[in-house]
């Protein structure tokens, strides 16, 4: 049961049953989001702190909305706004925040493993909103949720992930989640963007987009950063777009009619996705955003609720 996980730091340690538990709960949460009054009192009196060391409007807002729908109080804390610039360490920052008795800390940080470090030092629950290139568990879960909702099941389905796999935490969480639910995963991109040993995670590697998407039930397009200085992985976004970008013609000729197109956002229109595909009939990108709130509600409900969570919060604040 997911209850055995006090934190949500990554999907690599989640079993299939645990992932299904979160997805099933998210179904009910999504129903709440469709009511006229989008509020339930479940986490009334609880507080959720969004501790974001990396800029992010969408994920942060998504967690904020999720907390508020559950009637929890949400506090946003961004790195530039604060004492990090005055040289305060991560642990000190978190300890100070903890004195205000949050029930959940949602943290995004550029260093892989940072949420784990925080989790080892605080009493409340910690949810990772993305750490370096390591994991982005709530994104992985919402991608699985979206695909399960649209395809019925992920068992035996083929999903292709296209882009800079090496630097993508979304890709890793997606791989773990999709494999746990019985899907087959292909990763695709220029050889410079495929990390060594990715096959050992369970994905097959393709360099040609056409092959990677042939017969796939869904393709997840990742954002390409050309601004990587000092170690350029591609010569230009122009060439990347010609060879690995998805436009209407390639979609029509290479994708099966029912194949879905996903993207974690924000989209580099014209690079990995042309606007007509991003906004086209196969695209479930906006569903992903809606489902993101439901999935995050499920995570908050599971981690903030419960007697252990309450007891820990009380003792650690006193410590």
């Amino acid at each position: 049961m997911i209850g055995r996980h006090k934190h949500c730091l990554g999907l690599a340690d989640y079993s299939r049953e645990e992932i299904v538990e979160v997805l099933d709960l998210a179904v009910s949460m999504k129903e709440v989001l469709q009511r006229p009054i989008k509020k339930v009192p479940s986490l009334r009196g609880k507080s959720v702190v969004n501790l974001f060391f990396e800029a992010s409007t969408r994920t942060r807002s998504s967690f904020e909305v999720a907390a508020k729908v559950l009637s929890a109080d949400a506090l946003n804390w961004t790195a530039s706004a604060s004492s990090v610039t005055k040289g305060e360490t991560l642990i000190d920052t978190v300890r100070n925040l903890e004195a205000m008795r949050p029930d959940v800390i949602v943290i995004r940080h550029s260093a892989g493993g940072a949420p784990g470090l925080v989790a080892s030092r605080v009493g409340c629950a910690v949810i990772s909103a993305g750490d370096g290139a390591h994991e982005h568990p709530s994104q992985g879960l919402l991608d699985c949720f979206t695909l399960r909702e649209k395809l019925g099941t992920l068992e035996g389905k083929t999903i292709a992930i296209v882009g800079d796999i090496t630097h993508s935490r979304v890709a890793r969480s997606d791989i773990y989640g999709l494999l746990a639910l019985g899907a087959r995963v292909r990763v695709c991109g220029p050889p410079t963007m495929i990390p060594p040993g990715v096959e050992r995670l369970g994905a097959t590697v393709h360099h040609a987009l056409r092959e990677a998407v042939a017969g796939a039930d869904a393709v997840i397009m990742l954002r390409i950063q050309h601004e990587r200085i000092g170690d350029p992985l591609i010569p230009s976004t122009r060439e990347y777009s010609r060879l690995w970008g998805l436009n209407a013609r390639k979609a029509a000729e290479w994708l099966t009619p029912g194949c879905l197109v996903m993207h974690p956002g924000p989209i580099n229109r014209g690079v990995e996705l042309e606007p007509d595909v991003a906004d086209g009939a196969r695209s479930v990108i906006l569903d992903q955003v809606e489902n993101g709130v439901a999935v995050r509600m499920a995570l908050l409900y599971l981690l903030a609720g419960g007697p252990e969570a309450a007891a820990e919060a009380k003792t650690s604040a006193r410590a």
Partner: protein, 177 residues
Amino acid sequence: MNAAEIDRALDRLAAEVAARARAEDGEKGLAIVGIRRGGVHLAERLRARLANRIGVTPPAGTIDIALYRDDLDEKGAVPVVGPTDVRFPVDGKTILLVDDVLYTGRTVRAALDELVDFGRPRRVWLLVLVDRGGRELPIAADFVGTRLSAAPQDDVQVRLTEAGAAADAVIVTRRPS
């Protein structure tokens, strides 16, 4: 209670509801909402009987009160949330809220809070198969199948064939102290 007694109780309850609805001009606006999980099948059975009596099938829905509980910090694990499905507009309706056993009243309080988040009903009537006493909140049922006096260490269960029981029954078991 045995199966035959439960059957007769439901017939009587349906008659009472129909009579009151007619008297207070609520027939057209009647809707039935079963509280998961105990009230769901009872709500279905009542719906069929009421349809016979008032000549029209009232809309029906199900609510799960897990997200509205007030005891999240006290229970063991975090409670499992089931589906809530209320597809008809709630405004102005006469809602017949149905559950199997009425005890502390907390479940009904949560159900009322949730119901009210869907809209503003004209009125809400509470129907339970068993009232076992032991209220902790000022909640009373408008329609009761049977009353019994149960001690705190008693476990009162309504078993129904739709839920897999061999036969309908109301069972009281005393837990060892």
